[in-house]
Symmetry: C3
Subunit: 214 residues, 3 copies
């Protein structure tokens, strides 16, 4: 089980780095920049979480996250056309969604163990772990961040984190089961959003300036 | 006194979140994004301060800051037209200024107690506590940050912090009085800036490219 | 030797602040903003490094970095035309490059001593120390960050850090010599890049959207 979840984490790291480099490659980016954006996307969220928790950053004791993120970034840089193939790119988007689900719920476990800011802390840092790297990437790349788009990415993560928190509180004996279910829940919504190109519905949006002003 | 200053802090938290959501609502923002921007604006500055000081983040032991920021964000999202009414919006701008004044001086107290980087530390972190959340919000929302605008916001905070540092150094026995006076000082300048739409005067600005190049 | 390297660090701090204010002055910036950008550029990289290492931030125990950064920022703000003179501006660009070289290698020493995430940690944090302040400045100023440009700045720093890591590992007894050589190596490439206006070559860039799409 442990090794299965570790393999998933490494796969998620690959997907985070690959999608980061692909999203930035259109702007014309140097190898150095590709590696920075790939690695930051892969480890950024967990780093913000660990700094907030005041615990050692997770990649300091397990450099695999850095190596895997670096290798995936370089591979995507070198073989951009391959990774841009429709099938590969789609696959990466789904694995990216799976990675986000996994990282969020794993983070909640870490935060809960430390009893940090219960019960809000795990949810808050779960979401930050899942999306913090991508948001930092967008800021550094000068793009619109996830927070300002209609992409259905952060909202399912948030819902899954709230669900996991509620279920673990009510039935604490089945925590491992809830974790699996909530990862599947987030991944399911995210997959549906990728497949059917769903975005945040109108009633969850403020009206834009065009609608409202004058 | 304690409870009075705590109530003011909560009021400031509300105003920070409300003005953040209002400022971003024009761009068309999802509920999730509104909550993120509202909460980050409310707690971002103090979080940067606590990470720099290497002390536990303040909201981990008092979740009211999160709950109040969240509630204010959701309320503003749901009832944007209400909060956009001239009177309510103005009121929020003034309370936002009061919040910034209060957070800056309170932060200086916290930093001084820890004897961190005296005498520069309290001033530096006082300003960061007051404006750090708003700057982070602007970065995430892809807007021009406070630092690059002519808005008279950070400068009065800086002046008030320097004044508090000087007065507390010269007459340490009246520290509480100086705190009240400096909060009033910052809030007074900020209010004047809101009321008369004052901005940073020309002689405190570099010349723009249009003036200077060729 | 110690005092020589300290003087170099102060000179680097001056150059970081001066070039930051000069780069931002075109946008029309207030005195407060100039000081913020100048100081953040000067101390930002080292601050991110120290937060990641979970050690006290370096400027808390040596305020000279703040004072020197502040003085350089104000001087540049007041005497922008002087610092914009071709000779002075060029000189500052070279010293900025020297500062980046020095800060990167000094950071590697600090990180190696703490045995943090060996052998990747020193390289990673060496690069972050050298460019982190400039990247933060660009984000706050709303400019394209270093990471997205073709400027030959970060790549020589990275190469120098890898070289220092390799040489120190193979011949640990000559560490001080390798430090000097690697600082000279980074500064040499950076100087060549400034002098001949070199940028990252095409084969180290992804193709831009114009080349590739359709």
């Amino acid at each position: 089980m442990e090794i299965f979840s570790y393999s998933l984490a490494m796969l998620g790291t690959v997907a985070f780095a690959v999608t980061a480099v692909l999203a930035s490659s259109k702007q014309g980016i140097a190898l150095f920049g590709a590696c920075v954006l790939g690695i930051i996307t892969a480890i950024g969220g967990g780093t913000i979480r660990d700094l907030t928790l005041d615990v050692p950053v997770f990649w300091a004791t397990d450099l695999n996250y850095i190596w895997v993120g670096l290798a995936a970034s370089i591979a995507t840089f070198v073989a951009t056309p391959f990774f841009k193939r429709k099938l590969i790119h789609s696959l990466m988007l789904y694995i990216d969604g799976l990675g986000a689900s996994l990282f969020a719920i794993q983070a909640m476990d870490k935060v809960s163990e430390l009893q940090f800011a219960m019960p809000v802390g795990p949810i808050l840092l779960g979401v930050i772990t899942a999306i913090g790297g991508g948001v930092t990437r967008d800021v550094l790349a000068g793009r619109k961040t996830l927070i300002m788009t209609r992409e259905l990415y952060a909202t399912p993560v948030l819902l899954g984190c709230i669900l996991f928190s509620a279920l673990s509180h009510i039935f604490p004996e089945h925590r491992a089961t809830w974790a699996t279910i909530c990862i599947a829940f987030i991944f399911g919504i995210r997959s549906a959003a990728i497949y059917w190109k769903l975005s945040v519905p109108d009633w969850l949006m403020t009206k834009t300036a065009e609608d409202e002003d004058h």
